[in-house]
């Protein structure tokens, strides 16, 4: 889900998003972070801090942080588009 939103914001194909690749290599900036998190909240009802996407450098790191905080349940399907 996160990947799909990220792909739409960065205007690339979801399959091109590598969960391990640092966000800054995609050119994700702080405005994008706010937009992506806003979309995730709108569509999935999960409230996230946009800083999460800046403090954690890749999708893998974000998911690990969310699991640590108990914001999402462990299920790899959530990380797939």
């Amino acid at each position: 889900m996160l990947i799909a939103e990220l792909a739409s914001i960065l205007q690339v194909d979801a399959s091109e998003i590598d969960p391990a690749k640092p966000f800054d290599e995609y050119g994700l900036d702080s405005t994008d972070a706010v937009v992506v998190v806003g979309l995730v909240e709108e569509r999935m009802g999960i409230e996230l801090e946009p800083e999460l996407l800046l403090r954690n450098r890749s999708i893998d790191e974000v998911i690990a942080a969310l699991l640590r905080e108990g914001k999402v349940k462990s299920s790899r399907s959530q990380a797939k588009p």
Binding site: I9, P22, T31, A33, V34, V35, G38, P50, E51, L54
Partner: protein, 416 residues
């Protein structure tokens, strides 16, 4: 960008420091990576006094364009942030070129319309009557009821706003400076509503002042912005609202920090109560040490080498003013409050073409406001945990519960 700017085993997280005490984090940054490339925010972070000062005084460096970022955010999320953008466009320290000249001149005229010597007895009366009211209370919130109210009432007076507008405008200002940070879209939506309400109220106040042919801060802004430059009334109102916010927020931060510090330093508090003339040097030192404005971002307009790192044209540079002001290379016993140090040059009020216009007013207000607290018949003590504003740019206490020393079970609490 080279990653050698930071030791590879250290992760600096600019979002992770303690709002109440960011200084150990700053010291660590200054001593291990004084010119540090932050990959997520994509900017350089400077913490040494000389480096920070050099960028502040670099006339070619530009502020960042927050208004455009909010506009992009609005477009991408299909939301209207028009009022918030209007307000941010009126923020002097983000402005460039002609707009900056016009608005800086206008607010300069507003701030000097009443000479400081005439303003001092007015500030004294405002602070004195608030302090007398609070002295009669067992317990109160120093930040909300005093530190915010003194500057809010003073800037209301300078602008020509009724005193009854002060509290509602403080409420409308809440969290507005968080619009400079990476915050949820729902907060931007809320801040846009507050900006709209603030601008609407000031449009009404300016219209009224002009109709009554008054000679006050509001009519001055109207003359400079609307009459001379043909800008719309909302632009004038946004400038007046910005003046209110910046005057209230920074000065309240300073006043609350002074008292927060005194209440944790019994020896200094005792000597200051015995000698209230110490208010002035204490204000000077707290300004340096606690620095209400913590962050300034500039865009380099020419390549430069800072601390062995190559800064390219177009790179963004984050200046941590609070870190610079505690640089041991610039200040002896840099972490200590030394009332005998006097007014030493520091970067709390910025520098160069964006040097704070309200510097003298802020110092005067803080000195007078602190003086009344020192002359209260009984001493105060902390009465519970403090709340810190969540914004990154402004560091201030938004709640500081205090009570009469000796009353009830006083529990000294440093709020950590």
């Amino acid at each position: 960008m080279s990653s050698t700017a930071s030791p590879s085993n250290t992760k600096f997280d600019l979002f992770d420091h303690d709002l109440a005490d960011p200084y150990p984090y700053y010291d660590h940054l200054r001593s291990t990576a004084p010119v540090f490339w932050e990959p997520a925010l994509r900017l350089w972070v400077l913490t040494r006094y000389e480096d920070v000062r050099a960028v502040l005084y670099d006339e070619t460096a530009d502020p960042i364009d927050i208004a455009s970022s909010i506009a992009v955010l609005g477009r991408k999320t299909k939301r209207d942030f028009g009022a918030l953008i209007k307000l941010v466009e009126a923020i002097l320290f983000f402005q460039r070129g002609e707009r900056h000249k016009r608005d800086r001149r206008s607010l300069g005229r507003v701030l000097t319309r009443i000479p400081l010597s005439e303003l001092e007895p007015i500030i004294d009366a405002i602070a004195g009557s608030l302090a007398a009211e609070l002295a009669a209370r067992e317990r109160f919130d120093f930040a909300r009821e005093y530190a915010e109210m003194v500057p809010a009432l003073v800037i209301s007076h300078i602008l020509g706003l009724p005193a009854t507008d002060a509290r509602p405008l403080v409420e409308l200002s809440a969290d507005l400076t968080r619009a400079f940070d990476v915050v949820p879209i729902s907060l931007f939506t809320k801040l846009n509503r507050q900006a709209a309400a603030g601008i609407d109220r000031l449009v009404d106040r300016i219209t009224q002042a002009v109709a009554e042919k008054r000679n006050d801060g509001l009519t001055l802004i109207h003359e400079e912005v609307v009459q001379s430059e043909k800008a719309d009334l909302e632009e004038a109102a946004a400038l007046a609202f910005f003046a209110f916010i910046v005057a209230m927020e920074t000065t309240s931060a300073l006043i609350a920090s002074c008292v927060h510090r005194l209440l944790r330093d019994p020896d200094l508090y005792r000597s200051a109560r015995e000698n209230p003339a110490l208010a002035e040097p204490i204000v000077a030192e707290v300004t340096r040490l606690e620095c209400p404005v913590q962050r300034v971002v500039r865009i380099a307009r020419r390549a430069a080498s800072i601390g062995g790192q190559e800064i390219k044209e177009g790179d963004r540079i984050l200046l941590l003013l609070g870190a610079a002001n505690r640089d041991p290379a610039a200040f002896a016993r840099s972490q200590e409050l030394d009332a005998s140090r006097g007014e030493v040059e520091n970067v709390a009020f910025g520098g160069g073409k964006h040097f704070c216009l309200g510097t003298s007013l802020a110092r005067l207000e803080a000195r007078v406001a602190l003086g009344h607290i020192l002359r209260m018949p009984h001493a105060l003590c902390l009465a519970g945990p403090q709340n810190w504003y969540a914004a990154k740019t402004i560091r201030r206490i938004t709640s500081l519960p205090v009570q009469r020393a000796g009353a009830g079970e006083s529990q000294p609490n440093d709020g950590k």
